[in-house]
Symmetry: C2
Amino acid sequence: MLDDRKKKILQAIINDYVSTAEPIGSRTIARKYDLGISPATIRNEMADLELLGYIEQLHTSSGRIPSAKGYRFFVDSLLSRPVISENEISLISNWYGAKVRRIEEVFQETARIISRMTHNVSLVLAPQFSHCTFKYLQFLPLDDRRVIVVIVTDSGFVENKIIDIPEDTTVEELQRVAAAINNRLSGVSLDAIKASVLKDIRSEVIPDSSLFEAALSVVTSALTIDKKERVYLGGTTQLLNQPEFRDVDKVKNILSMLEEEQLLCDILQAGDGDGVVVKIGQENKYSGIKDCSMVQATYQVEGQVVGTIAVLGPTRMEYGKIMAVLEFMHSHLGEILKKYKM
Amino acid sequence: MLDDRKKKILQAIINDYVSTAEPIGSRTIARKYDLGISPATIRNEMADLELLGYIEQLHTSSGRIPSAKGYRFFVDSLLSRPVISENEISLISNWYGAKVRRIEEVFQETARIISRMTHNVSLVLAPQFSHCTFKYLQFLPLDDRRVIVVIVTDSGFVENKIIDIPEDTTVEELQRVAAAINNRLSGVSLDAIKASVLKDIRSEVIPDSSLFEAALSVVTSALTIDKKERVYLGGTTQLLNQPEFRDVDKVKNILSMLEEEQLLCDILQAGDGDGVVVKIGQENKYSGIKDCSMVQATYQVEGQVVGTIAVLGPTRMEYGKIMAVLEFMHSHLGEILKKYKM
DNA sequence: TATTAGCACTCTATCCGGTTGAGTGCTAAC
DNA sequence: GTTAGCACTCAACCGGATAGAGTGCTAATA
């Protein structure tokens, strides 16, 4: 365990490096931070810290920078978790009020707000459609040959698709099919429907109804799309402000990754545990971000975890601030969603 | 007007610069392109071309690069417009088949396909909801206090929103309100509704019905959102492969622009005329892309222009290829949309 | 008269050696 | 245990020399 003085020095190194992105030496620490000890002493302590693996040197005569282990210790033991100010809270509420007109926009705006406050890329994973429960399906007539199938879940998600129907289909027939499906599927979770229930139904009922087949295939397709298009990004250009991304090739790597929604979903869903979680450098499983850090948090609706929010940036990030923002979203995004009629 | 030899030399310069991104000199042209004339002659011709403004020099002893005027002449007079191959067409069709499950995905996939084929950023402006005609509105019950308002247009677009209702609202009452609205608005274009009709109605009917108010406000909000969230981007990382974007600050400028959907909408909608249009450098009105080129095309559904597709990149781009791809999309995207049930 | 060879010139990019400055580790004194 | 002093290291910066690609001009050539 580190003694008090080492902690203070480590803290100074991290604070300085986070704000300047430059390696820092003993002399500078002594000058900028009033620790009451000389550069020489700090040098000795820094040599120890390096031996212990908390800081590292790029080359023999450069200053030190925090290592992943250093950041980890900082986050776990040194960080006095700040909370965001009243001022910021009211700003956030204004931002939502000004921009959000419908539920999907909450996610996009959340991503924007988080990135604006943290100066880093933010990711918002919207609730998985498949966790919802099927409520009912309805046909809305469009013209002679087409109807819109609308699927409604208990939480009010609506999914729709246009299908062709035989020309001579009667309204009664449509209603009968809808009733049959609703009767069988109402209250069943979409997960379950996808997994097996659909097959069961198909064998239970009149197999020659092409309308029925079409309606079922819509349900299926509504279920299979749910994994996609559910990640909202904010502030991707913030990356380019970070000195660690001066190099275009590094930017390319990260941006390519951010374009792969499926990958992002997987990364975000892998988030273990509730609350705010910090993953530093190598702790990230996906190799493309092994020199980045990611702070993740879940959020809840009706007491159930439904989605994940995250901030991605260089390991040199303002962990305190970011954790505070995500902490806030973790505990308030649910309410906000409710407010905008989820 | 340029004589034949000057044209050939200009063509050689442009071809070479487009593929290498390096200024090219007389000696190299003579070596690489078999024009049957000596470097000295080429030098004289190049001096003329520079005087005429078709090419330019970065400094006295560098090779020449095409100017905007040069590219313009190339596009207008030198370019033998290629068409994309059968091979590529079947590739495209496969890509759509593999990815697209619903109508919105057509736009995203179109953007991806275009950028993949052109190696540049692509933009797809989805059809404006507001050009459609209101068909009807329907209430779908959710629970005691909430219903989903579904708005259907004649082309099959569906927009939905959840609203609160007074607890004791009867089904008949809902139907009556829906009928009243449908009666009045059916067949009216959404543009017109937004512009004025809504105000008229409000005064015509029972003003104390809060349900009625809520339904109308949903119609309004469904109309006001239509300008947003309708631009799909593809291949933003392609930018980073271009040597002209080696500089992170330039990348930042463009990427920031690409994040502003409203701006993109404006730029894309400004597209004058039908068919494929090329805007080179300064020809672009928006100052942020004055050193880029943009190739735009419209696409149609039912014989009506409903949206725009575009490719954005450095002025040094493969105009021929890009125009061919957009030409194809211009004439086929309509069908593709129909195929996926627009 | 149009083309070409030859030549002097220009300008960038690159390499190289010297200098500066921030930083270190070690040792000896406090 | 702390600190001052000192020799040492290394990246960054600067300036001069060089190489190379390219030009424009002039005179010779077909």
